[in-house]
């Protein structure tokens, strides 16, 4: 990892030299503007991605793969973990160089759009599932399953969670391979449980129990009870899908149109609203809830395992953090939706596509997931790794937080997307105009969902 950091520095030094050469030309006194233009073109020629330069076809030849990742370059565990993955891959495949590109998580799709518009999309991109449908539609994505031979594919994917693979299939094909995957769980503050007279070893398993325990915490521990992060700051609807699916409904129908006005969905959101109106849940945004949980003022937080590490950091020295599986509605099995990201290929030519596949194959291999889980905190999508002493058994022995989520991996329901190019607008409409008013501000679930469903249908039907 330290080695890699140095190599980043080396690259930037080279680039700085380019800039310096260009800079020398730049400051001739007259016509500054024109010369800057010239210098820019010179600088650009040397710094633009390798994607543009055509590679030689031979497999022994050196080839580079550009990899856009929202984890890369971040100063946290995600960045470090990604660097570790790349280092391990380059060690295993000396003829392939990975050129990582960082991006802010909120900007992934923008960046891919703009890179594609600029004619230099990355070869491999880490794309969030909530944006994957839009990405399929907007971007020149090459279905991953089409790249290798069938045998190669089958061999590589053996041991992978088949339930998840089939969940992400589109038109019978895996277009993007699940990579950094999380599913929602209950994070709870064991100290507050004890204070409220609850048994931290027996966390709630149903929504009703969640409510009961939350009210107990509120009354006896002097803290807020629970926060069900359906109102997501990023306007993502994965938790909305999770609760609706767990109540036996669908947010998006098989036709890609809204189904959230059906009774099961209405019931799910009514339950969420009940948490708020009963006082079990504070009427605040998810960001505030995370802060409250970190401050030890919230008993339970129901959200994605992605934040496990940061919650763990925040709780260190303050309270005991534990996790439990996503709660069910009564006796129906919980059916949380996964969130996180998959790996998609945008490489233009065969050679780069092949190299991209090699890279993806490695990232989702046993070695890959060992690093992903132990360094970043995402779920190992090859469940057997958790008990394999060669891989993650030591990690899970010491670290129980991911276990409940892993246990639910086979219950996950697929993330569903709306159809058409206004899908993202539909999600925002649902979250802003229905979920938030219902859950936080007491809007009538049935009528609100029904009117928003009508609105979304209109949006989706537009050209």
């Amino acid at each position: 990892m330290i080695v890699k950091r140095r190599s980043v520095k080396r690259r930037s030094v080279e680039r700085r030299n380019v800039d310096r050469v260009a800079g020398r030309r730049r400051w001739s006194p007259a016509a500054a503007v024109a010369l800057i233009t010239a210098a820019a073109l010179a600088a650009c020629g040397s710094s633009s991605g390798s994607a543009a330069t055509a590679p030689a076809a031979g497999s022994d030849q050196k080839i580079s793969v550009s990899f856009l990742s929202y984890n890369y370059g971040t100063p946290d565990i995600g960045g470090k973990g990604t660097q570790a993955l790349i280092d391990a891959f380059e060690k295993a495949h000396p003829n392939i160089t990975v050129k990582p590109q960082g991006v802010a998580v909120a900007d992934v799709l923008t960046r891919l759009q703009t890179d594609t518009a600029a004619g230099s999309p990355p070869d491999v991109a880490q794309i969030g599932w909530s944006k994957m449908a839009a990405a399929y539609q907007l971007l020149p994505i090459v279905p991953v399953q089409d790249i290798p031979t069938r045998a190669d594919w089958n061999a590589a994917m053996a041991g992978f969670s088949q339930h998840l693979l089939s969940a992400v299939e589109v038109d019978g094909k895996v277009k993007a391979v699940p990579y950094t995957i999380s599913i929602p769980v209950i994070f709870y503050n064991a100290d507050l449980f004890r204070k409220a007279g609850l048994d931290p070893t027996r966390p709630p398993t149903t929504v009703d129990e969640v409510k009961k325990d939350a009210l107990a915490i509120k009354e006896k521990a002097g803290a807020q009870g629970v926060y069900f992060a359906v109102v997501d700051s990023g306007k993502s609807d994965y938790l909305t899908q999770s609760v609706i699916a767990s109540n036996g409904g669908r947010e998006v129908g098989p036709d890609g149109l809204p189904a959230f006005d059906q009774p099961a969905a209405v019931g799910a959101l009514a339950a969420m609203q009940d948490l708020t109106t009963s006082g079990a849940q504070p009427a605040i945004t998810a960001t505030n809830a995370v802060a409250a949980f970190g401050a030890g003022k919230l008993g339970m937080l129901i959200g994605s395992t992605a934040v496990t590490a940061s919650l763990q950091k925040a709780s260190t020295g303050k309270f005991e953090l534990r996790t439990a599986g996503f709660p069910s509605f009564g006796s129906r099995p919980a059916a949380p939706t996964y969130s996180g990201a998959g790996l998609a290929v945008l490489a233009k030519d065969k050679a780069h596509q092949q190299a991209a596949w090699e890279f993806i194959k490695f990232l989702t291999s046993a070695e890959g997931f060992t690093i992903i889980t132990s360094k970043i905190g995402y779920l190992p999508l090859r469940p057997s790794l958790a008990t394999d002493p060669k891989y993650l058994a030591p990690y899970f022995a010491a670290n129980k937080l991911l276990s409940p989520a892993l246990a639910q991996l086979d219950d996950v329901s697929p993330y569903q997307s709306y159809t058409g190019k206004r899908a993202s607008q539909a999600v925002v409409a649902l979250q802003d105009d229905a979920v938030e008013p219902i859950v936080l501000r007491g809007a009538n679930p049935a009528s609100t969902l029904s009117s928003v469903a009508g609105q979304v249908r209109g949006v989706l039907g537009q050209k």
Partner: protein
């Protein structure tokens, strides 16, 4: 000899003024102080109500400087902001000079067209600007970062026009009579006189460019070419926001400007003081 009531009134006035100043200043710098304190907090401590860091740690600064290329981003931002400021002044000074000293017949229309550019929301230009620099292959380059930001040059022109108007026309006339050509009047007489005003306008432009978020995030997304503002957003990760390092990074980003301000405090104040912004 002031009457007792006048003295009382003066005391009340002084106290009132200081109360007003203190109160307003406190409210305004509260976020800065909070951010400063929070940048020394532990990941758990940041969620506490206690505004003071206890325990205090330098971890956030360590993360911001070691695991994050904060210095490189600061250099990029400085180059960008300085470039934007310099180019805008380079373009705006002669234009404002011409508008004041030898206005063309259409100058009213021209001024209106310049003012309109101030009103055009940058967001509405971003799609075409982005496509332009993409086609030129200017993404992740300084020209791509800097040149499109010249859309804001109109502001510099309007501000400088006022400043140039405030320069006594007789002094410029004297230079003309001394045989100075228009360019020489500008270079040898007007520019030296305008220096404080240029300083003030430059500071305004520099701060604006320094704080720019949207354009750099599109024009230079590579972390090696990014600027500090969108760069800081990298701390808002999917795995939970890294508030501490983010605030530490932003403190480091604020530091250079504040240091320059403190060092050149007199000059900057003087610049604003004598900028003749009326």
């Amino acid at each position: 000899m002031p009457s007792p009531s006048a003295t009382t009134r003066r005391i009340v006035g002084t106290v009132g003024r200081h109360a007003f100043l203190l109160g307003a200043t406190a409210i305004m710098i509260l976020p800065v102080l909070w951010a400063l304190a929070a940048s020394f907090k532990t990941p758990g401590g940041i969620f506490d109500s206690n505004p003071l860091p206890s325990p205090a740690t330098l971890d956030n600064y360590r993360v911001a400087t070691r695991d994050f290329p904060v210095w490189r981003l600061l250099i990029n931002t400085t180059v960008m902001a300085a470039g934007v400021t310099l180019l805008q002044l380079l373009i705006a000074v002669p234009a404002a000079y011409a508008l004041v000293r030898f206005p063309p017949r259409a100058h009213r229309v021209l001024v209106a067209l310049i003012v309109i550019t101030l009103l055009v929301p940058p967001q509405s230009l971003i799609i075409p600007l982005f496509l332009t620099i993409s086609h030129l292959g200017w993404r992740n380059t300084f020209p791509g970062l800097i040149l499109p930001q010249l859309y804001g040059t109109g502001l510099a022109v309007i501000l400088l026009r006022d400043h140039i108007r405030a320069v006594p026309s007789t002094v410029l006339g004297a230079a003309v009579l001394d045989g100075a050509r228009p360019g020489e009047v500008l270079r040898l007489v007007l520019l030296p006189l305008l220096r404080p005003a240029l300083g003030a306008v430059a500071i305004l432009l520099f701060i604006t460019a320094w704080n720019e978020y949207l354009w750099p995030s599109l024009a230079a997304p590579d972390i090696d070419h990014a600027t500090i503002q969108p760069g800081l957003a990298a701390f808002l990760t999917q795995e939970g926001p890294e508030y501490g390092p983010l605030l530490a990074g932003s403190m480091l980003a604020t530091l250079p400007i504040v240091a320059v301000y403190l060092l050149a405090s007199r000059r900057v104040t003087d610049a604003f003081m004598h900028s003749g912004l009326r």
